[in-house]
Amino acid sequence: MNTPKPKVLLIEDEKTIRRFVRAAVEEEGCSVIEAETMAGGLIEAGVQKPDLLILDLGLPDGNGIDLIRDLRGWSEVPVLILSARTQENDKIDALDAGADDYLTKPFSVGELRARVRALLRRRLRRGEAATPVVEFGDVVVDLSRRLVLRGGQAVHLTPIEYRLLSTLLGHPGKVLTQRNLLREIWGPSYVESSHYLRVYVGHLRQKLENDPTQPRHFLTETGVGYRFQP
């Protein structure tokens, strides 16, 4: 076991926050590169080629959303957003621009470590051959045979339900914005008809969750979108 340590680039202007984030990320067995500004962060991202980027949205020298757009032009590195703002719009913009996940300040070290772990794991898995079978709870989905089993019993899904399910399964742990999902599954003319998405997520929960009112796998990020939690 001699894999190189994953590199995490942390772009955050507050020194004290950098300090504990670094401690938490190092605890996950990563090496940390720090940057204080957007310009500096973009250069480090190009030079160091990190495995994960942790980005504060409120940087003094520019909007973090622009950085994500720039970055996405040439890199697929996972991006975790730290946002001090409660406004959902900023998160949605960042996620639509290509960010993978977000944490709202204040957050605990435990939450941070969990998110970092999930994002790094996803990056590793990307290298492996994609497996057509996804399992969560008592549900098994065989994407190659379009088969959904729950507790061994076949579950009937409508075409849209199946497409929604496979889209969500394709991005485990990632927050998918409503706009994103609507465009992907219903098409561009439906991006304002969010009730469709909500009703169909409800159908999936009815069919695949033990308690649809308290879902464990198809999670709502209120005001933002949905996340599939394996």
Binding site: I17, A24, T86, E88, P106, T222
Partner: protein
């Protein structure tokens, strides 16, 4: 009249000496000339008189036998007839021409006055100015009193602008004019009552009524004057509409500026307050990462620091929310969505506060989609669930239920705690008010106030009761509205 007679007499006197030299036919010409001049000078009536007089005088003084109406030669009857007819027609045409010229002049003056009014109205900056301009016009052009009536809150044109003590209003006629958008005339009203009501029509809607009271001596009103007043009314209507939109634009701009300022202050405040709290929470947590592990007492202190900082962050969140809600007009991001989703998200969000209190959700299967702002409603559920978890004994259930209630859906969150000592609803939902029984429990009394602000912003109500079987229950309503139609999937 006298002058006409005089003119004919003069013609006779002038022509008499010429009788020896001129043919009778030429003397007829002199009379016709007189008729023409009279017609131009005095108008149609005088011209008729001059024609008849001319024929008589010609007959008496010039046609033989002279000084008698008798006629020697029957041929002269033709002369008389031609003379009379020519005189009448000439007089008529000449008089008509004169009247036309006069009317044209009057019309031009009025048109000019209307142009002036249009120009003045275009520059008017206030309704008072419009009223003044209108009043000056009706006074100057028609010697009439005018009053502009603007619609009140119910849309009836009752609010009188300007002061015209001699112009009394019949509200019924004003209403008819406003509603029908047509001019209403009533000649029978007198002694100071307005007899003409013109709607102030503009492109978007009728902006009020212009009432005109004519002096008592004016008996009937020519159509042409009504047309003039209608033109005036539409000019005023357009001016009032322009002023209305100037007002709207100004207040919108003002609102936008203050909205932007408020939200930038709040988000700066939010950033500045949350950043140190984030550092505090994170640094307290990072004490657990130190190797070798710190002694238990130090870790307990670190845990307490984390909890206090998190509570402070929660309080800051509540205060900022309240500031945002209290600042007035909150913009709701309303979307149609199932209630169960926001309930699930809320439970997930405050999972850690609910470990000792299983939440049981019971929703009717046919619960329709509701239109609400999910982020704000999540706040309501979180606050109510946190409250319930705070007061109910560990291990007891919290119940969430919903049922239709007329035009609303009623949602209730009930616990099995000690219940409310005082269900004085209004006071309970006020800011910073805390129940007497809660001393010793942490809290600020902001939670319920925020819930009320959010629910009321959605058009619902919130109330607190004690359940008959014990425990407190907070229920709120949300309007059902008309959910959008969902196209069924073709399978």
């Amino acid at each position: 009249m006298l002058l006409t007679v005089l003119a004919c007499a003069t013609t006779t006197l002038v022509a008499t000496p010429l009788l020896g030299y001129l043919d009778l036919a030429n003397i007829v010409m002199l009379f016709l000339l007189t008729v023409l001049l009279v017609a131009i000078t005095f108008g149609r009536g005088s011209a008729v008189l001059a024609s008849v007089l001319g024929v008589l005088l010609f007959d008496i003084f010039f046609v033989p036998p002279r000084f008698s109406l008798a006629v020697e030669n029957i041929q002269y009857l033709v002369t008389f007839a031609v003379m009379l007819i020519t005189g009448l027609i000439t007089g008529h045409l000449a008089a008509g021409l004169k009247q036309k010229a006069h009317e044209a002049l009057t019309r031009e003056l009025r048109t000019q006055a209307l142009y002036d009014v249009a120009r003045q109205l275009a520059g008017a900056l206030s309704q008072a100015q419009v009223v003044e301009i209108c009043h000056a016009f009706t006074q100057g052009q028609l010697a009439a009193e005018s009053l502009i009536l603007l619609p009140d809150d119910q849309g009836h044109p009752t609010v009188a602008m300007g002061s015209s003590p001699n112009c009394k209003i019949d509200p019924l006629l004003a209403n008819i004019a406003e509603d029908s958008g047509k001019t209403v005339r009533n000649q029978e009203l007198s002694n100071g009552y307005a007899s003409l009501y013109l709607p102030l029509r503009a492109s978007m809607r009728t902006r009020g009524v212009l009432a005109i009271a004519f002096p008592t001596e004016v008996v009937s009103l020519p159509d042409e004057q009504v047309a003039l007043l209608e033109a005036l009314a539409s000019l005023i209507g357009i001016a009032l509409e322009r002023l209305h939109y100037v007002d709207v634009a100004q207040s919108t701009q003002l609102k936008m500026v203050s909205e932007r300022l408020r939200s930038s202050i709040l988000s700066a405040l939010s950033h500045d307050l949350r950043t140190p709290l984030t550092a505090l929470v994170g640094l307290a947590d990072s004490l657990f990462l130190i190797k070798p592990t710190l002694p238990d007492t130090a870790l307990e202190t670190a845990q307490a620091m984390h909890e206090q900082a998190a509570r402070l962050a929660n309080l800051v969140g509540n205060l900022l929310d309240m500031a945002r809600l209290n600042a007035g007009e909150i913009t709701l991001r309303r979307e149609w969505q199932p209630l169960e989703e926001v309930i699930g998200a809320s439970i997930k969000l405050i999972e850690s506060a609910l470990v000792a209190h299983p939440v049981k959700v019971r929703l009717p299967a046919d619960l329709p989609l509701l239109e609400f702002d999910a982020v704000l409603l999540e706040r309501v559920f979180c606050n109510l669930l946190e409250n319930a978890a705070k007061y109910a004994p560990p291990g007891s259930n919290i119940d969430i239920a919903a049922q239709p209630a007329g035009e609303f859906i009623e949602v209730s969150i009930s616990d099995r705690g000690p219940g409310l000592a005082d269900t004085d609803n209004d006071r309970m939902f006020d800011m910073f008010v805390r129940g007497d029984s809660v001393a010793g429990k942490p809290g600020t009394g902001l939670g319920l106030a925020i819930c009320r602000a959010i629910v009321e912003a959605h058009g619902g109500t919130i109330r607190a009761t004690n359940r008959p079987e014990g425990g407190a229950s907070i229920s709120f309503t949300l309007p059902r509205g008309t959910p959008p139609i969902l196209e069924e999937e073709s399978v």
